[in-house]
């Protein structure tokens, strides 16, 4: 599903430095992955999962620009380097695959500089926002003789998923005392990792003053895609794990009407569209204890004090436990 027709970077919302570190003098093999290409978000090293999450979000927030810095000092200055994004970007005849996006191409060195900065954007790396491209590589490749015969230098594997999971269905809220139980039928998508319940007052205000953190991209920037305009981070009321069929929202006020939705969220923090809405008004309930008392029950329910225990049977039980354990030890020898 199309999230947004993001163009190339407009505003510098994030600055990511991609630093390729190598002792490459020719096309000697670089260590794959770790410590060769380092991706940072405003100076902070991103783990593999964080890279994917970040990129997945960034590509669908218009204007998320990237600054990719490549350390090319080890490459032969007579050749040509390129930064490409895609899957299997070098064909069998050692050309750049048409399916890949060339983000930069040029001489490895210019003057005294050992790094090259590539201005690009999240969506240039990951492709447009439509569909799913669950795996791709950000690859540094090299053409040693400037004859369009490319070889891989190193690559950074990335995973991207911009497809929404299907929305939960059959949402039904049943009110309790200061709470509501939300039952729903889960999304059919296999990559759903959790569900979040959104709730508001009847007036559309956030129901909780201190809501749980949203697990989805709540930036609100959808580049004109308003299909999920109802989703607000401050509306999160509860969270349920994948496989759940119900969740209880607590912290609500009695006698106030609330609206509830459920959103499915996949492993890349893509939220589904809102489910159907269900309304409920919490009210006082009669639990077993209240029912018991209204039926004339007179037991003391103020705590764990032993009532009517001649001689304190609790103490006797404790003594007997100790006795049995000590005798048992003797017997076991």
């Amino acid at each position: 599903m199309l999230w947004c027709p993001c163009g190339t970077g407009v505003a510098l919302a994030h600055r990511v430095r991609l630093i390729a570190v190598s002792s490459l003098l020719t096309l000697a093999p670089w260590a794959a992955g770790a410590d060769v290409i380092v991706l940072k978000d405003e100076g902070r090293l991103l783990s593999a999962s964080e890279r994917e999450t970040w990129l997945n979000r960034a590509r669908c927030v218009c204007g998320t620009a990237l600054s990719v810095e490549l350390d090319l000092s080890a490459l032969d200055s007579r050749g040509r380097a390129a930064l490409v994004a895609g899957k299997s970007c070098i064909t069998s005849d050692r050309r750049i695959s048409d399916s890949c996006r060339t983000l930069w191409s040029g001489a490895p060195a210019s003057g005294d500089s050992t790094t090259h900065t590539v201005q690009t954007s999240a969506d240039e790396i990951a492709g447009d926002c439509s569909g799913v491209d669950s795996s791709l590589d950000l690859a540094l490749i090299f053409d040693a003789s400037d004859d369009d015969q490319w070889s891989a230098v190193t690559s950074l594997p990335l995973g991207v998923d911009t497809e929404r999971p299907a929305a939960p269905t059959g949402v039904k809220a049943v009110a309790g005392e200061g709470l509501a139980e939300i039952a729903f039928s889960g999304s059919d998508d296999t990559d759903v990792s959790r569900y979040q319940v959104l709730c508001t007052t009847a007036a559309g205000e956030a129901a909780l003053s201190d809501p749980p953190a949203a697990s989805f991209d709540a930036s609100g920037d959808r580049c004109g895609d308003t299909s999920d305009e109802g989703i607000r981070a401050t509306w999160v009321c509860a969270e349920a794990s994948e496989g759940s069929a119900s969740v209880t929202v607590t912290g609500l006020r009695d006698h106030q009407s609330y609206r509830f939705w459920v959103v499915a969220i996949d492993g890349h923090q893509n939220p589904s569209l809102l489910s159907n809405v269900s309304t409920a008004t919490p009210a006082p309930e009669e639990d077993l204890w209240e029912r018991y008392q209204r039926s004339g029950g007179t037991a003391d329910g103020s705590g764990c004090s032993s009532v009517g225990a001649p001689g304190g049977s609790g103490v006797i039980l404790l003594v007997l436990t100790g006795l049995l354990v000590s005798i048992g030890r003797r017997g076991g020898r």
Binding site: A175, E177, E285, V307, S313, L320
Partner: protein, 225 residues
């Protein structure tokens, strides 16, 4: 009981016994209220599992008789959707409409039991049945919860626990397995247990104690070491 246990421990070599059992239990709360059936209204009329274990000691005091002392720890729990309070203090008049919050009850009966086992059937006739009877003080801690996990009330009721039943000695039926278990794990007996358990847990009739009494069938497995 304490004095007797100490005396027996000094003159005999006790065997350790441990096992688990499950009873089909229902607390007698409804029997203690003058009007209505609060437990049945919320949880229905069925019974639920009272699950637990016991451990203790068995002394062969006579040729065909063993004395036992055990501690039994068990748990019973149930939950159901509470009723919507109609504000008039009587949910029943509002049709007992269920709420979205669950009310729950947890009961932890603990009992110390001293008993006797007749082993003559097995030893003399090779019939692997060991009748037994035991009883002792019991203490039931209970907690009642309301929707959202909050505690509505808690307390405890004391009383007695009585149990009578049969052990079916399994290892005696299979000598080879019996030897192997004994040599490798120190297991001297493995027995299935079927019994009737009577819990008299109401503070000895105190109106201030929650009525948790019941008579229940109980089944289990016991190992002797």
């Amino acid at each position: 009981m304490i004095a007797l246990s100490l005396a027996l421990a000094l003159v005999t070599q006790p065997a350790l016994i441990a096992g688990f059992d499950i009873s089909v239990y229902r607390p007698g709360i409804d029997r203690s209220v003058p009007a209505g059936t609060p437990y049945a209204d919320l949880f229905g009329t069925g019974r639920g599992p009272l699950v637990g274990g016991h451990f203790g000691i068995s002394w062969p005091i006579l040729t065909d008789l063993a004395l036992t002392a055990q501690l039994s720890l068990t748990h019973f729990g149930d939950s159901a959707y509470a009723f919507v309070d109609d504000g008039a203090g009587d949910a029943a008049s509002a049709g007992n409409k269920r709420s979205g919050g669950k009310t729950s009850i947890d009961i932890f009966p603990i009992s110390a039991l001293i008993g006797a086992r007749y082993t003559g059937l097995w030893k003399r006739l090779r019939v692997p049945l060991i009748p037994f009877a035991e009883g002792g003080p019991a203490h039931g801690i209970w907690l009642i919860g309301k929707g959202g996990g909050a505690e509505a009330a808690s307390g405890s009721s004391t009383g007695l626990a009585l149990r009578a039943g049969l052990l079916v000695e399994l290892l005696g039926l299979e000598p080879h397995a019996s030897r192997k278990l004994g040599e490798e794990f120190g297991v001297r007996s493995v027995a299935l247990e079927a019994s009737v358990l009577h819990l008299w847990l109401n503070g000895f009739g105190s109106a201030a104690s929650l009525e948790l009494s019941d008579t229940a069938w109980s089944f289990g497995l016991e190992l002797g070491f």
